[in-house]
Symmetry: C2
Subunit: 397 residues, 2 copies
């Protein structure tokens, strides 16, 4: 058993994270809001993937990571529930959950944010990145670094992969010194890279043959929400994979879409989202630079369009970068070079013509070819301006 104070800390942090996840993203954290009783947080929806223990145990278990606990009496209430449930497996599940050792592979802006969110949830986190600089930054911020991905993953209950592609994921798992050889039976590999669903299915099958669970769990939301533990996860996998991954999912995500019990579904949903998001950024860029070419008041264009049928989440989110002439990367051009590339490969493979996605991809390629690959993806507006002589706002103006 783990000491009471450790569980208390983990639960308190889980409660706090739930607050982070539910708050208005611009509002300050609400540490002191009124808290619901434990029983109120036992919802049928949260229990549907915990199938291997009795229903009372499931309810209590499902309630744990979302329980709003701030004092010892709440922790005691949990223990009473555990005892009264009379399900012996439950106690070990709780212990397992609270003691979860998590490895994060990939410490870029997303991975670093996730690592911090997991750490705040009192999970035992160890991180690795192929870049020595990223590793050093992680350690500097108080993280525990490992000398290799295998060192990080060995003995971990959960490995969260925050690399960028299916190829990187495969190399990490099955290349020389790959994790598949060192991960313990029953652990879960949480894969966040955007990839072809067929690749996700293949990786899952190979890992499951070694008794390691695979959760197909692409993420969205950007670096700021990663740091806040407020990502959106589009996840699919076996109930066991979900259950094992739950402590990490709860700490890193505001919303987990549970999309089915097979790997590949999460990847497919992410592809659909990226196809739309990539087209919408290109469309927003095409429209705002055309407005500039026509000499319109661009602030007024933003006001009118965001109140009209031409609006999109991406128009609303990215055009302010153009209006302020600030292309510091929130999300880089190369992300959509990659993701729309994957969509085109997948669509071609399945004999699906996707001409808008194809046209959008050409614009990301042009931006990258012009040297803007690592700048904000709203840079596509600058490509249109360059091609047409339109004049966009600059940072100084």
């Amino acid at each position: 058993m783990i000491p009471q104070h450790a569980r208390h800390g983990a639960l308190a942090d889980a409660g706090r994270l739930r607050d982070v996840q539910q708050r208005d993203r611009r509002a300050p954290l609400l540490h002191d809001r009124p808290r619901a009783p434990l029983s109120a947080s036992i919802s049928p929806a949260r229990t549907e993937n915990a199938t291997n223990i009795g229903s009372a145990a499931k309810s209590v278990l499902a309630a744990l990571p979302t329980s709003p606990m701030t004092n010892g009496s709440a922790a005691i209430a949990i223990l009473e529930l555990i005892l009264s449930s009379g399900v012996s497996e439950l106690a070990s599940s709780v212990a397992h959950r609270s003691a979860s050792r998590v490895a994060i592979i990939g410490l870029g802006s997303m991975g670093m944010g996730i690592a911090n969110a997991l750490h705040r949830a009192d999970l035992d986190v160890v991180g690795f990145d192929v870049s020595a600089e990223a590793r050093a930054r992680f350690v500097e911020q108080g993280g525990r670094g490992a000398a290799s991905a295998a060192d990080a993953a060995e003995g971990a209950d959960i490995v969260v992969s925050v690399v960028v592609s299916g190829a990187q994921t495969e190399a990490m798992l099955f290349g020389a010194g790959g994790l598949a050889d060192v991960m313990k039976a029953g652990a879960v590999f949480v894969s966040s890279a955007t990839m072809d669903p067929a690749v996700a299915r293949g990786l899952a099958a190979r890992l499951e043959a070694r008794s390691v669970h695979y959760l197909d769990a692409p993420i969205s939301g950007g670096a700021a929400r990663a740091a806040a533990g407020a990502l959106t996860v589009m996840a699919s996998g076996s109930p066991e994979a979900f259950m094992r991954a739950r402590p990490a999912l709860d700490a890193m995500a505001a919303k987990v879409h549970e999309l089915g019990d097979a790997a590949g579904l999460g990847a497919s949903f992410k592809m659909i989202n990226q196809l739309l998001a990539g087209i919408h950024i290109a469309a927003a860029s095409e429209a705002i630079a055309l407005a500039a070419k026509l000499g319109l008041d661009l602030d007024k264009v933003y006001e009118v369009i965001t109140a009209s049928a031409g609006n999109s989440w991406m128009f609303e989110n990215r055009i302010p970068h153009v209006l302020s002439g600030d292309y510091a990367p929130h999300s880089a051009v190369e992300i959509f070079v990659k993701d729309l590339g994957i969509v085109q490969d997948m669509a071609r493979g399945t004999r699906y013509p996707a001409p808008l996605g194809a046209a959008a991809l050409q614009m990301y390629l042009a931006a990258s070819g012009l040297g803007m690959g690592r700048e904000d993806d709203a840079s596509l507006a600058r490509v249109y301006a360059l091609l047409s002589g339109a004049v966009l706002p600059t940072k100084e103006s």
Copy 2:
């Protein structure tokens, strides 16, 4: 002066329309909601285009069409305000407003809805359409029909044009039997057709040379909102044109974007909106049919995407048509064949490459070529399905 009961009716209807405009679109009409005092509805923003009378008069005048009035005492309050303002022009302006005679040219689904909204506002409405069938339907619904566009427009204070193109607008104004020859000096022509901004500027100049005002006022919102008097108008024109058109604008629109004092600006903003809207419908179609091809649960796709960064106003609005397999036209494919065509013409003219708009236009052309031109624009999803073998929901399933 017009009789008191007529003014009272107009004002009451104006108050009701404001309710329609502000309500949740799915909620029932709220005839009996608490009403704010008149003074509360005198806002500086509503007065900025009424420049030719004193400021007290402007405030009262601007408040009129939005005043929440349901009884005689409120009408008396208006008269008291008029008298206390001591501005003689005001009384005649009020009389002018309430007595406005309005001609509607074009009685399709949009024009018919606008005519009904104007009629409910107690404006004196006469309608014309080149189609005898549309004229008959209008008369059947209690409208007053005219034998020709010129007959309708002769003597009108406001002519609202609800035809579909710049070419139709030009023919109506300056062709044989055109309105330009019969419209009275000081009247205003409110042009709602989506057209090239240069065409709008040309029409305005030619009308203004005959002392007729021109308001460049493209509309958006669809037939249901037209019927509710809840359109969005993207308008530009002289302060005089705005002032003259105000009774019609207030009756037909929930929101009037005032975009500047020259014709062409309204048209330009509408083009930007249509470019985005047209691309987004095509993108939504490309994405949902790809999801079908991948065998995903399409209801779940809708749920996930509308909560994600890939969302757009059009995705949210049009994909339900695909999910229910119902392609009865809310807005027909041909609208975007036309509008994206105008954008491409305009962009080409100004040497602006718009590849996403171009790709989207091809998909509308394909839908039209396949015989779906008069069906709902969500039919683009059927084009993608046809091209790829994806299976979409049917009305029966």
